[in-house]
């Protein structure tokens, strides 16, 4: 009896942690698809699935940190597009790819720094600032590359970005991503820096009064986000062997959707990276499975939307159920409950 209620309690408390739910859901979807969906389980498809999801996952890493600290960056996809465009333009000029990549990464740092400075120095809301830079960076990309589509990057780079290790399902690019993921997880969940991000997100003023250097911390985050976004832009251009000014358009909404699905609270101060990454891959896997099952793109949009709504309603309903259960338990214990008619 005791054991039974204990296991129940654990189950309920697990359900209250939405990131765990999303992780479990991801595993269920993967297992079910292996068993029932033709063409899902083979290595090639899995490598495609991972490869196509990686850009979202890459940006989701810094975005999670940013959202936990109470800010947001909607300009990430434009930064990615801008790095891709600059990469294409410089490549057309005949520069070596080995010089271009660092330049593009630096450009990402600058983009992030601009966002960060506008937010921290002027105290502007990050949502508004990054909607502005979303348009500005994309516009600059258009000015830089115009209507060109640069496709002739060196094969060894293209192969690295699009290829996989032998016949396994593991794309080469997954390995550096895993390393970055590990760094991000440690930074957010095991360092003082991560701890202070949670504090800042939950109450910026209290964090400041506790001696946390809130502005510097946010500046660092925005800069890192710019860097990761440009890395993603480079990866994107190589992965799809195409640098155009409109690369990765709209990626910011996919990232935001996935991060939200993973249980990151947009009020700041709550969430885990595990949840966010599970959210990213859950959306990726579902899209892959639905495409294989001939579910139309339109219906897939609906599914994404429903999942998002459930991601916020789910934990809430679970909480209410557990509160109601606790209430019932409490109510059955005391002696009597006086009827209370309305006046």
């Amino acid at each position: 009896m005791a054991d039974f209620s204990l296991s129940r309690a654990i189950r309920w408390s697990a359900l209250k942690r939405w990131d765990a739910v999303v992780g479990a859901l991801l595993i269920v979807v993967l297992l079910l698809s292996f068993g029932t969906v033709d063409g899902f389980g083979n290595a090639l498809n899995l490598s495609f699935l991972i490869g196509n999801t990686l850009p979202i996952a890459l940006i989701a890493l810094p975005m999670t940190l940013l959202v936990v600290s109470g800010e947001i960056d909607l300009s990430v996809a434009s930064t990615a597009g801008l790095s891709g465009a600059v990469m294409g333009a410089l490549w057309n000029q005949g520069m070596t790819i080995e010089t271009i990549i660092p330049i593009c990464l630096l450009l990402g740092v600058v983009c992030g720094l601009i966002n960060g400075l506008l937010v921290t120095r002027l105290g502007l809301p990050s949502l508004a600032v990054t909607i502005g830079t979303l348009a500005a960076y994309r516009g600059i990309a258009q000015i830089v590359l115009g209507s060109d589509a640069v496709t002739d990057f060196p094969t060894q780079y293209l192969d690295f970005a699009a290829g996989r290790i032998g016949d396994t399902f593991i794309p080469y690019a997954l390995l550096p991503f895993l390393a970055l993921l590990a760094i991000a997880v440690v930074a957010l969940h095991a360092t003082p820096f991560g701890r202070s991000l949670f504090a800042t997100g939950a109450s910026e003023e209290a964090a400041r009064f506790a001696g946390i250097r809130v502005k510097r911390q946010k500046l660092i985050l925005f800069t890192v986000t710019g860097l990761m976004a440009s890395l993603t832009g480079i990866f994107w251009a190589l992965h799809y062997a195409s640098a155009r000014f409109d690369n990765a358009t709209g990626l910011e909404l996919s990232v935001v959707a996935a991060v939200l699905l993973g249980g990151i609270d947009f009020d700041g101060g709550k969430g885990t990276l595990g949840g966010a990454i599970a959210g990213v891959f859950l959306l990726g896997a579902l899209q892959n499975v639905m495409s294989l099952q001939d579910v139309s793109a339109q219906s897939q949009i609906v599914v994404t939307g429903v999942l998002l709504v459930l991601s916020v309603l789910g934990p809430r309903v679970a909480r209410q159920i557990s509160v109601a259960r606790a209430g019932r338990r409490a109510a059955s214990a005391p002696v009597s409950k006086a009827p209370s008619p309305t006046p």
């Binding site: 033709d38 063409g39 899902f40 083979n42 090639l44 498809n45 495609f48 196509n52 850009p55 490549w91 057309n92 005949g94 520069m95 070596t96 790819i97 080995e98 010089t99 258009q142 115009g146 209507s147 060109d148 589509a149 640069v150 496709t151 002739d152 990057f153 060196p154 094969t155 060894q156 780079y157 293209l158 699009a162 994107w236 992965h239 799809y240 062997a241 195409s242 155009r244 000014f245 409109d246 690369n247 990765a248 358009t249 709209g250 899209q287 892959n288 495409s291 294989l292 001939d294 139309s296 793109a297 339109q298 949009i301």
Partner: protein, 338 residues
């Protein structure tokens, strides 16, 4: 070739000339039945592509094969289109007909598909030549570009300022057509006509609208606009028909009869042109089946018969051209419904 031993553009100079064709064509091979051909348009739900893909579906039915359509819901979701190529590969279709959002982005995935013995036909919008077996072109770009200038010149009496309202700046086929328009304008008979501006409306109704307004404000003496995109011409026509410029500023370009019927009837537009998208789809389907059956391999000079559409010859780089576009005006527009 570089100073610091890095890799530059020169080091990877064109290796794309190698055609993706292999084996030998057997013009007399029998057309196979029971095949599956997947259509992957730039965007599902786009009336133009729906019409094209319907043409493909009908042709495949006639040939005893089956048809399916997949595709992204946004015309700029390149990564989405790549995953759909992968999906079709996973589903082991026999051939796919693709209208590429991007000439380069689909290459890796398409090559992967061809490695898996899937024939790849592009239609409407091409990729790099080595990433597909054949390209079914809606009309030769040269024809389209030159005829649109001719159409407009007749309407404005070979005189005055003209402008172009294109789609996105990156739209490959738009740009090729525009180049041919400029080429055509060099002819002395157009000496009194002047192309003052190319504006981009990004295939968005509102933006095309405002770009049209901008053109008219910036060039008060504008006599005509060419819009070689169905969205652009429609938006421009709607704006003109509700403004004081109606009938005074001529508009032509590429549009569908259904979109433009009203503006032709109310005098905003005199004439415009387009190929029949369903024919385009049909040809893509028939090319795909011919490829799978081995009648053609995609080499220049090969010929095949596309049902009622007659005989087609494969041109340079595996391009198959549908033919000349149709001009629509008040007299003939009611005979068309697409």
């Amino acid at each position: 070739a570089t100073a610091c031993g890095g890799t530059t553009k020169e080091d990877v100079s064109d290796d794309s000339a190698s055609a993706a064709t292999a084996g030998k064509a057997d013009p007399n091979a029998e057309l196979k039945k029971g095949l599956t051909v997947g259509f992957l348009p730039k965007q599902v739900n786009n009336p133009y592509f729906t019409s094209a893909d319907k043409g493909g579906e009908a042709a495949l039915k006639e040939l005893g094969s089956s048809y399916k359509e997949v595709g992204p819901s946004s015309a700029t979701d390149t990564s989405g289109q790549v995953s759909y190529v992968n999906t079709l590969t996973q589903q082991q279709v026999d051939a796919m007909a693709v209208s590429a959002q991007d000439p380069g982005a689909l290459c890796t995935a398409l090559k992967q598909a061809m490695k898996n013995d899937i024939k790849v036909v592009t239609y409407d919008s091409d990729t790099k030549a080595d990433c597909r077996n054949a390209f079914v072109s809606q009309a030769s770009a040269e024809d389209l570009g030159r005829t649109e200038v001719q159409l407009l010149a007749e309407q404005i009496g070979y005189k005055g300022e003209i402008a172009i309202l294109s789609a996105a700046q990156t739209a490959t086929n738009q740009n090729i057509w525009i180049d041919f328009m400029k080429e055509e304008l060099k002819d002395p008979k157009y000496k009194d006509m002047k192309l003052v501006k190319v504006a981009y409306g990004n295939d968005d109704a509102q933006q095309s609208f405002q770009q049209t307004q901008g053109l008219l404000q910036e060039y008060p003496n504008l006599k005509g606009i060419i819009s070689p995109t169905t969205v652009g011409i429609k938006a421009a026509a709607q704006y003109l028909s509700g403004s004081k410029y109606k009938g005074k500023v001529k508009l032509t370009g590429l549009g569908t009869p259904n979109d433009m019927r009203k503006y032709v009837k109310n005098g905003t537009v005199e004439g415009f042109e387009l190929w029949d998208p369903s024919k385009l789809g049909e040809l893509a389907a028939r090319t795909a089946v011919a490829l799978v059956s081995g009648q053609i391999t995609g080499k220049e000079g090969e010929t095949f018969t596309a049902g009622d559409m007659g005989e087609f010859t494969i041109g340079k780089d595996g391009v198959i051209s549908l033919g000349k576009p149709t001009v629509f005006d008040a007299k003939n527009i009611d005979q068309f419904n697409f």
